[in-house]
Symmetry: C5
Subunit: 90 residues, 5 copies
């Protein structure tokens, strides 16, 4: 899973029916330094995150287990809010 | 899912029979800056996108859930048209 | 799916029995510029491609749907020959 | 599988119920040089690793086979502690 | 599949029971130039490779089809020894 920061909303009106009602947010992976990586991607938010919040994102096929319905065309789901994480060996 | 911009068509006459009738388009991921990444890949368009349109692309095994038939040799499907997305924390 | 150029053969005598009789070719992804990327990988060719031909390659688990048998240890399959593709917005 | 070094804990209070009771740790891949890569990710620890320990991490869908329950939204699991590994041809 | 060179052994005493008896080796992808990439990863060797040998590695979920048992937490399996492969268009 990746530690990401929530950047904002991804609004899509014309979309696959299976995605209706899902909250889509843009996220960026956090690097070891704590800075966000250059890439941005979209994850389904079933937790109700705020912008700027640090979250745990599961990607790939197993992401579906973070949703109630499992036959959705989704490859990234937010599965938790990160309270604290260690970045480097102390 | 990735936010991508549609670049154009990918025309293939000799292809796997299961791909017959599917619209294949070339897409590029958008970076945080809003610029397109260097890489280009091909996604199935079941929505009917225009060139230059910003779309949401699901990749990997779960992409199949964006299609009506699920046993296709496809690893990327356009699942929505992006109206607006936040790129950076405000 | 990725747009790749076929570089040549990958010959393997000692291999998993399930791969017997499959044609293995080395391919390289094409970048937006039309140049080949530095990386090289191996795909199963069930179409009968020529060296230098531009092809469409499906990767990951769904690649198996491009084969007749689906329980093969294969993660990349050529699913079409590309006649033409748009590389950049016009 | 990747050879990674355990960096520390990833603490999440608000999370998917299926993740309850799982130990989440931050890990970094080791490069050929033995140095840790820049990226950091989160894996489930079912072995009980210590910080600084070198471990073997399975990623992607098959990671689930390293857990007792297989329908979890998890894409990386620690499957072993590495005693020794060869980094370069001798 | 990737063309890799076998670097050596990966020894793990404390590991998931499902991995018992499997030979784990460290491998590196070969680039177009024939040089090994910087990254190193671990694959299951069911063929009996020697150090320095050039092998074909299947990754991801389908790697399991290269093993006799399919519910193992494994994401990379050696499926063949490469006798010869073409690296560039002639």
């Amino acid at each position: 899973m990746y530690i990401c920061v929530v950047q904002g909303k991804c609004v899509s009106t014309i979309k696959n029916k299976k995605l209706s009602g899902l909250s889509l947010v843009t996220v960026q992976k956090l690097k070891k330094s704590g800075k966000a990586a250059d890439d941005i991607f979209v994850a389904v938010d079933v937790i109700g995150c705020s912008i700027g919040e640090v979250v745990l994102v599961t990607t790939g096929q197993n992401a579906k287990h973070g949703l109630e319905t499992q036959d959705l065309p989704v490859d990234a789901v937010i599965v938790g809010i990160v309270d604290h994480h260690d970045k480097e060996l102390k």
